[in-house]
């Protein structure tokens, strides 16, 4: 990947963040304490997977087959439980709540599983973030070479 396209990619990424603000239609940049009442405090600090009863529009329902990476992710997460890295409830805490509202609503279901599996390994010092980042970079480059052929 050229340096220029890396910069373009970074700028595109920064612009996209602006669209990820949860749809409370007011500025949300580190408000002063007196701008947060009890209701708003609770809305921000609740477990974000507790979504029952929120006003919303109907969503489209689609039948979808499980993809290979999704099945792999599920098996990986189950193995992490079997080997005592986490239990199912800690997995839910990480993938449904600690991931934050924007990511909870915005990422695919198994995308959240996969991210929290990687994070729990870093959090509990099974791998360092440096090792993980280098590995992702290595795999990405290998994949780019393969798809270039």
């Amino acid at each position: 990947m050229s340096l220029l396209s890396t910069r373009e990619d970074a700028m595109r990424f920064i612009r996209a963040i602006g669209y990820l603000q949860p749809a409370v239609h007011k500025p949300q940049h580190a408000p002063y304490p007196d701008e947060i009442d009890h209701t708003l405090f609770r809305a921000y600090t609740r477990s974000v997977h507790d979504i029952g009863g929120e006003p919303d529009v109907p969503i489209r329902w689609e039948e979808k087959e499980e993809e290979q990476w999704e099945a792999n992710t599920f098996a990986t997460c189950e193995c992490l439980a079997w080997r005592g890295v986490w239990n199912a409830e800690e997995r839910r805490r990480r993938q449904n709540v600690e991931i934050g509202l924007t990511s909870y609503l915005g990422l695919p279901y198994y995308g959240r599983w996969l991210l929290s599996a990687a994070l729990v390994l870093v959090d509990k010092q099974y791998v360092t973030l440096t090792e993980l980042v280098n590995k992702i970079d290595e795999v990405k480059k290998r994949h780019e070479q393969k798809s270039a052929r």
Partner: protein, 122 residues
């Protein structure tokens, strides 16, 4: 309470050949409520992690089953598994949960589970 020396396979060992939550059977002590009891859902703080839905807080329902014993989600999510609680299936009238629920569907109900800490006698 630090668990740096915690045996990380403790749960797998406990649940092997039993299953979860069956492996916690008999550890919660006597149940505080029985089938048919009217209970109200407490409004405990819900920071960091809970599975007690906000829409049930303060609502009154009926215990329809004692389902199993297990650590509460708020404990288990940090691997604190030494204080299992009874879990109850509680049935609500939909009209008691949603103010705008239409009278045409007055018989509709909703059933969901709570650990004992969330319930008080109504």
């Amino acid at each position: 309470m630090s668990k740096s020396q915690h045996d990380r396979t403790h749960h797998a060992k406990k649940a092997t050949r039993k299953g979860d939550p069956q492996c916690f059977k008999g550890e919660a002590g006597p149940a505080k409520f029985k089938v048919g009891d009217r209970v109200r859902i407490k409004d405990l703080p819900d920071i960091f992690y809970t599975r007690c839905q906000i829409y049930t807080r303060g609502a009154t329902g009926t215990v329809v089953a004692l389902v199993y014993e297990s650590p509460a989600p708020e404990d288990e999510a940090w691997d604190n598994t030494d204080k299992p609680e009874w879990f109850y299936s509680v049935k609500f009238r939909q009209k008691d949960l949603w103010p705008e629920y239409h009278d045409v569907y007055a018989n509709d109900t909703l059933e969901t589970e709570f650990s004992e800490r969330w319930l008080e006698k109504a």
